[in-house]
């Protein structure tokens, strides 16, 4: 249907309720939570509550070693999809990694989050050339690096970061733990369609302790 005609129907409906259009003032919203020094603690608590594992690393350069150790401990093959900004890190020889979109048999992905949300323990993934969306959903194991300074108190902090950048990614994926379902007899089962395990590598703040 024609847009104008469609909207006209809605305008008529509004006009037929006297005084309705005058009630358009938006309310003040409650302040989102602020955690101060407890921000990182809150973030990691919520990660655990959502069945994520996590560890701290000093710098991003330490990432390949820690990723490989995590895979080796679980006897998972050293083949992975790696976000382009992490592809240039010192990965040892014999490790197969690529930055293309995840294929149907992709088992492991290593990504870099745009932001974290302490309130809910979520990771915000900003889609684009540096962050293929398929890496977030196709593999069984998802390892996500996040800089401690990028952890915001709340979603509102992420929205502010987006506005500061001046654009919205095509997809912003907020991830809170591994994929799950309760659709068979309300029994929670991890790894429904997306990753079965999510491991977070928290990179300490530039200047020292996180």
């Amino acid at each position: 249907m024609n847009r104008e005609l469609f909207l006209h129907g809605i305008r008529q409906a509004i006009a037929s309720s006297p005084g309705l259009r005058a009630r358009s003032a938006l309310p003040e919203r409650p302040q989102p939570p602020v955690y101060g020094d407890g921000r990182i603690g809150q973030f990691t608590d919520r990660l655990e509550a959502h069945a994520c594992s996590w560890e701290e690393i000093e710098t991003l350069e330490a990432l390949p070693g820690r990723v490989l150790a995590w895979l080796d401990e679980r006897r998972i093959e050293r083949r992975m999809a790696v976000a382009p900004p992490l592809g240039g890190l010192p990965w040892p020889d014999g490790v197969y990694h690529h930055s293309a979109p995840a294929g149907i048999d992709e088992s492991v992905a290593v990504s870099l989050a745009f932001a974290g949300i302490a309130e809910s323990g979520s990771l915000a993934m900003y889609s684009g050339p540096d962050s293929p969306i398929t890496h977030n959903y196709v593999p069984e194991f998802h390892l996500i690096a996040i800089r401690a300074e990028d952890v915001c108190d709340s979603q509102e902090g992420v929205w502010a970061k987006l506005r500061a950048r001046g654009d919205m990614p095509r997809a912003l994926n907020l991830i809170a733990g591994p994929s799950r379902t309760g659709d068979v007899e309300q029994t929670i089962q991890l790894g429904a369609h997306g990753p079965r395990q999510v491991h977070v590598l928290l990179v300490r703040a530039k200047g020292g302790k996180s």
Partner: protein, 470 residues
């Protein structure tokens, strides 16, 4: 989806006699209620968030045309296409046309109540597309050829054994799985192939953001995300009432939705999509369409049921409804069950055809007490009954009884005399036990419990005897 056959009465009787459904209902109810209560208790701002969410929705509805226009402009500036569907038939045609143009063969679907509302699957299947529901619950009921029985847990009425039977029949060449883990894993493997074959991916839109031209979906499985990322064409179906002004408004609703729906603080995945794939993007859909569906909503905007447009489809009302808890979702006969369905179904499908729904409510108010956007559900159900009476839909027998009662009630002397007589007869009939196990004309009531007999003189007689004010 087409309304189910039968009446609320006949479908309820069937539900009450279905042992596996009754088992499922007994299991699910305490789980949802307790989990919501615990999640709400952990968020001190919850009540204020409910007030705020209701006020945001009211403000948006009062200028819905403005917000929709702003939203649509923004989507189109990002390269997306917005379609406007006045009713279900138009919405179906728009989506059929998108699939035709895309040369589609496989159509994957994330969970979308609007697509159930407009009966999309049936027509796409008639057109010869392979339509695959990817939410595990929706997939199970698609295999069973049944409608959803709950808006967020559509296969809640199926036992593990029934799911195992369905999978065994529909996944040839795979060994039978019996465990929950095995069944979930089997669905993961089978559906994975469908995601990668998908040409058109259809999802719902929990929220639409005018500020950024964004559609938002929330899922726990990640199926909606795979659907919309791996398909060449992404189609969002959404009711017109889902638009919100800004991302900050979205946050208010996201804090309410998961807690109210499943008792989680957040779902696993919240995805904000804005337009199609951009230059340099390694993945994502080449086309992005939004189908905005009116289908009677603008009519609600001008009438007595406007508050119902605040609904965010969380399911809390049905999770707390004693009637839903006893008979499950299929008894309600269409896409939307429980208290919200008792209002929406008559509005969408006709007051006369759904006479029973608002009348099956006990007006206990538990739904209203938990609704995250404070929809006065019991008030609306009462209003719906009122509309039915005004439309002359009350059955003749009921109407005659009400008229007779109304006449007697206007003759105080006669009314009190009859009351005295009735009370005495009931006491006499009950005898020493003080309760009646059967009563002519009230057999349905006394079938399941005894009726306590009046204990003494009527209220008015006692009042007078004690010298109460006249």
């Amino acid at each position: 989806m087409k309304p189910l056959r039968g009446t609320f009465d006949s479908r309820s009787a069937k539900a009450l006699g279905d042992p596996s459904l009754q088992k499922a209902l007994r299991n699910f109810k305490p789980l949802f209620v307790a989990k919501r209560a615990a999640a709400v208790a952990e968020l001190p701002d919850f009540e204020r968030l409910r007030d705020t969410a209701a006020a945001i929705k009211d403000a948006v509805l009062s200028e819905l045309d403005v917000w929709l226009e702003r939203y649509a402009d923004k989507v189109e500036s990002l390269g997306g296409k917005v379609h406007f569907a006045r009713d279900a038939a138009e919405a179906r045609e728009i989506i059929r046309e998108i699939c035709r143009k895309a040369g589609a063969r496989t159509v994957c679907k994330g969970k979308s109540m609007v697509s159930e509302e407009i009966g999309l699957n049936e027509v796409l299947e008639e057109d010869g597309y392979r339509v695959v529901e990817t939410d595990l619950g929706e997939y199970i009921i698609q295999l069973a050829k049944e409608p959803p029985s709950h808006i967020i847990a559509p296969a809640i009425h199926k036992t593990r054994e029934q799911v195992a039977d369905l999978f065994e029949k529909n996944h040839p060449g795979r060994p039978r799985e019996e465990s929950v883990a095995g069944l979930v894993n089997e669905a993961r493997h089978v559906l994975r192939e469908r995601f990668f074959e998908s040409d058109v991916g259809i999802t719902g839109g929990n929220f639409l953001i005018a500020e950024t031209g964004t559609s938002v979906i929330v899922t726990n499985e990640g199926n909606g995300d795979l659907t919309q990322t791996l398909s060449r064409v992404h189609v969002v179906t959404s009711g017109i009432e889902r638009v919100l002004p800004t991302l900050d408004d979205l946050s208010v609703f996201l804090r309410l939705l998961a807690r109210s729906a499943t008792g989680q603080d957040t779902e696993c995945y919240t995805t904000l999509s804005s337009g199609p794939k951009r230059p340099g993007d390694p993945d994502g859909p080449e086309e992005y369409h939004v189908v905005l569906v009116d289908n009677g909503r603008s009519k609600m905007l001008s009438g007595r049921f406007r508050d119902m447009l605040r609904c965010i489809r969380c399911g809390a009302c049905m999770n707390h409804c004693p009637v839903y808890g006893a008979v499950g979702g299929h008894a309600y006969g269409w896409v939307y069950p429980g208290p919200m369905g008792s209002i929406l179904t008559p509005l969408f499908n006709g007051l006369a055809e759904n006479y029973d729904l608002p009348n099956a409510c006990t007006l206990n108010g538990r739904c209203q007490a938990v609704c995250p956007v404070r929809i006065p559900l019991t008030e609306l159900i009462r209003t719906m009954r009122n509309e039915q009476v005004k439309a002359g839909l009350m059955p003749a027998s009921q109407r005659r009884m009400m008229a007779a009662w109304g006449w007697v009630a206007r003759q105080p002397g006669l009314y009190r005399a009859l009351e005295r007589l009735g009370s005495r007869m009931l006491r006499l009939r009950a005898g020493r036990s003080g309760a009646l196990s059967s009563l002519p004309g009230a057999g349905a009531w006394t079938e399941a419990r005894d009726l306590p007999a009046p204990q003494g003189p009527t209220f008015i007689d006692q009042w007078n005897a004690r010298g109460g004010d006249q």
